[in-house]
Symmetry: C2
Subunit: 148 residues, 2 copies
Amino acid sequence: MISPELLRRYPYFAGISNQSLKEIAMIAEEKHVPAGTRMFGEGDPANHFFIISKGEVNIDYLLGSGEIRTVDTLVDGDLLVWSALIEPYKTTAIGTATKACELYSINGPRLRELCEKDPLLGYRLTSQVAKMLAHRLEGARVQLAAVD
Amino acid sequence: MISPELLRRYPYFAGISNQSLKEIAMIAEEKHVPAGTRMFGEGDPANHFFIISKGEVNIDYLLGSGEIRTVDTLVDGDLLVWSALIEPYKTTAIGTATKACELYSINGPRLRELCEKDPLLGYRLTSQVAKMLAHRLEGARVQLAAVD
């Protein structure tokens, strides 16, 4: 487990009860990932939800041509593996640590249970996920516009 | 206002209290949109959140080349104008009714207040929005792959 105090500094946990933060902390652990590590591929079971405490992770698509296209770069404070919260709970891109990362790794199925038990937590996290997806979609659109 | 019973049939309202459904119904109205109507453009204030009761709406991007690219087609039961729930509450695409539509139009700012008051409602709606965005992102990726 990690200290609940580590979670409190993130804006998406604003207003979340001490009790819920404690329960998240209990299903979380610190994880170190060396630079260059491929953390997940496309279609993997999204069993863990991550908070990037420090580091950088590229989100890449493998295009039909075999080209790798970076669609997002996540940094300190960003959420990683949104698909651990959204059905069908499978990753949809490739995640690679481009710098050494310190992460909080949270058990996905148990976090989903906590979201059901404390819907404010679910609301805050899925709102943050939706914002991130909207940002990524905007990036995809810019790329689409560029190739036309 | 509309009848709260009309809302109950949608899966994203599963488990939402009668009281909350009644409050949504009170800030909603039925709206008819003729086929061919451009409902919103890019960057409009997202003041209304819609449920498509019946009909079809295309979500289009205007590319740099001037080409219009359809990125999603929404049908009966789908949510429309997700950006009414997610900061900065501005539309990001063009929405055009491609068939005559019967919609429930819900006041956006007041719906956000209801989501804060009843976080389960917020959680259900933002989860549905995140699913929709993930689907749209997948579509964008397929299009990116096709042009490369």
